[in-house]
Amino acid sequence: MLAIKVLGSGCTNCKKLEAVTRQVVEQLGVQAEVVKVTEYPDIMAYNVMSTPGLVINEKVVSSGRIPSPAEITIFVTNAIEAAGAS
C-alpha cells in the first residue's frame, strides 16, 4: 500500500496533479491512498518551496511542476520496488 500525498494549497495545478496521479494509480492497479495536503505548515514540513509537490511514502519526488503521467508511473514503480526491498 502506497501513501501518496499531493502538496498544494488548492491552486489549479495542484488539482491537476492530483487528478493525473489518481489516473496513473488506477491504470497501474496499485494499492495506494492519495491524500491532499493543503495546510502550509504541513506542506513546509516536506521542505518544499514550490507547489504542487508530490510525495510518495514520505519521499518528495517532484515539486513546482506537474510531472507527465509517464514520469509519475516511474515514481510509483520505483516506490513499490523500494518498499519491496526494505
Binding site: S9, C11, N13, P41, A45, Y46, N47, M49, S62
Partner: protein, 347 residues
C-alpha cells in the same frame, strides 16, 4: 539541480537536429511576416495605405504573428535558462547575504527563478525560516511577479529594447528599494506566528536534469504560457491596432502625456485594483505611449497592474498580519510612484 554538461549521446542528436530546424523555420517565418501582412492588406484585399482600415489591418496582421512568434521563441529561451535555477538554489545563493547586497541579489534572482504566485507562500516561509532577512525575502517576492517575462517580451516586440530595458530597470529599483525599506521597518513580529514554528524535515529535492529534460521542460512552458496568453495578446493588439489607425498621433499627449504632478500617483492607484495579465495590458499601454502618453506614467501604471494585485494580497494574508500586508502594498505603491517620477525627470 544541475549536472555538468554531458557528452551528447547519439539518441539526443535527433533532438538537437529538430531544434536547429525549428529555429531556422522560426527565423524564416519571422522575416516573412511584414511582406505577408502588407501583401494581404494592400494587394489581396486592395485596401489603401492611407486608409484607416488599411493601416489598422496591416498593423494587426503584422503584430499578432510577430508577437506570438517572439513570445514562443523567447519563452523557450528563458525557460531553458530557468531550468538552471530553482527556488531551493536561489535560497542557497541568498543565504548569508547581508541586507543591501542581499536585496540586490534577491531582485536579480527574482527575474530568473521560476515563480508562480500560487507558490508565494511556501517560498516566503522557506526563505524566512532559513534565516534570509525579511526585507531580502520581500525584494525577491516583489521582483519575481513584477518583472514578468511576458511583459518584457511584449514590450521588446512592440517598442524595442529601450522601453523593455526601462521596465526591467524600474522593476529592479522598486523591488530593491521596497524590500530594503520593509527590512528597515523591522516588522518581523507581523509575520504569522506559525511561520516561525515550522519544523522542517527531510532533504531538499535535488533533480538531475539532462539537456533533453531541459528542452522538454522549456517546450512544456511554451505550450502552457502561450496557450494561456495568446487570446489576450490578440485582443490587446486588436484594440491597439484600432487606436493606431484611427486615433491621430499625439492625441493623448494633452491628457496622459501631461507632466502634471498627479498623473503618476493616479496611474498607480488605478492600477492596483486592476488585475490583468501582462499579455493584455502591454499592447494597449504601448499604443497609448505611441499616441503621446508619457512613457514613465504608462510604465508606472503597468507595473502597478502587474505587480500589485488583490489576488496576491489574499494569498499573502495567510502569512502576513494586516499591518505588514498593508505596509507591503503601500511601500511598493510608493516605490513605483517614485520610479515614475525619476524617469519623468531623466527622460
Amino acid at each position: 539541480m544541475t549536472t555538468l554538461p554531458q557528452p551528447i549521446p547519439s539518441a539526443n542528436k535527433r533532438l538537437f537536429a529538430t531544434l536547429v530546424i525549428v529555429v531556422l523555420v522560426w527565423l524564416a517565418a519571422y522575416n516573412l511576416i511584414q511582406p505577408l501582412a502588407d501583401w494581404l492588406s494592400y494587394s489581396a484585399l486592395g485596401l489603401s495605405r492611407e486608409s484607416h482600415l488599411g493601416e489598422s489591418l496591416a498593423f494587426f496582421l503584422y503584430d499578432v504573428p510577430k508577437i506570438l512568434l517572439l513570445l514562443s521563441g523567447m519563452v523557450f529561451a528563458i525557460s531553458i535558462v530557468r531550468t538552471f535555477f530553482s527556488p531551493e538554489r536561489t535560497r542557497a545563493l541568498l543565504g548569508g547575504k547581508r541586507e543591501g547586497v542581499g536585496n540586490v541579489f534577491a531582485a536579480l534572482l527574482g527575474i530568473v527563478t521560476p515563480f508562480c504566485s500560487c507558490s508565494a507562500v511556501p517560498l516566503f516561509i522557506g526563505f524566512v525560516e532559513s534565516g534570509i532577512p525579511l526585507g531580502v525575502t520581500f525584494s525577491f517576492l516583489i521582483a519575481a511577479p513584477t518583472i514578468n517575462e511576458v511583459a518584457i517580451i511584449l514590450l521588446f516586440g512592440l517598442f524595442g529594447w529601450k522601453v523593455a530595458g526601462l521596465y526591467v530597470a524600474s522593476g529592479l529599483v522598486v523591488a530593491i528599494v521596497a524590500g530594503f525599506i520593509i527590512g528597515r521597518l523591522k516588522m518581523e513580529r507581523y509575520v504569522a506566528d506559525f511561520v516561525w514554528k515550522i519544523h522542517r524535515s527531510g532533504d531538499v529535492v535535488e533533480e538531475k536534469l539532462t539537456w533533453p529534460d531541459r528542452i522538454e521542460r522549456a517546450w512544456e512552458s511554451v505550450k502552457e504560457i502561450v496557450g494561456k496568453v495568446w487570446l489576450y495578446v490578440v485582443i490587446g493588439i486588436a484594440v491597439g491596432a484600432g487606436i493606431h489607425g484611427y486615433v491621430p498621433e499625439d492625441a493623448l499627449a494633452s491628457i496622459l502625456g501631461a507632466q502634471a504632478w498627479w498623473s503618476v500617483p493616479v496611474a498607480v492607484l488605478i492600477g492596483i485594483p486592476l488585475y490583468s495579465n501582462a499579455a493584455g495590458i502591454v499592447p494597449i499601454v504601448g499604443t497609448l505611449i505611441e499616441k503621446g502618453a508619457s512613457v514613465d506614467t504608462s510604465l508606472a501604471f503597468m507595473m502597478s497592474v502587474i505587480g500589485l494585485s488583490l489576488p496576491e494580497a489574499v494569498i499573502l494574508k495567510r502569512v502576513l498580519k494586516m499591518p505588514l500586508l498593508v505596509t507591503f502594498f503601500a511601500v511598493i505603491a510608493v516605490a513605483i510612484m517614485l520610479t515614475g517620477y525619476i524617469f519623468n525627470w531623466i527622460l
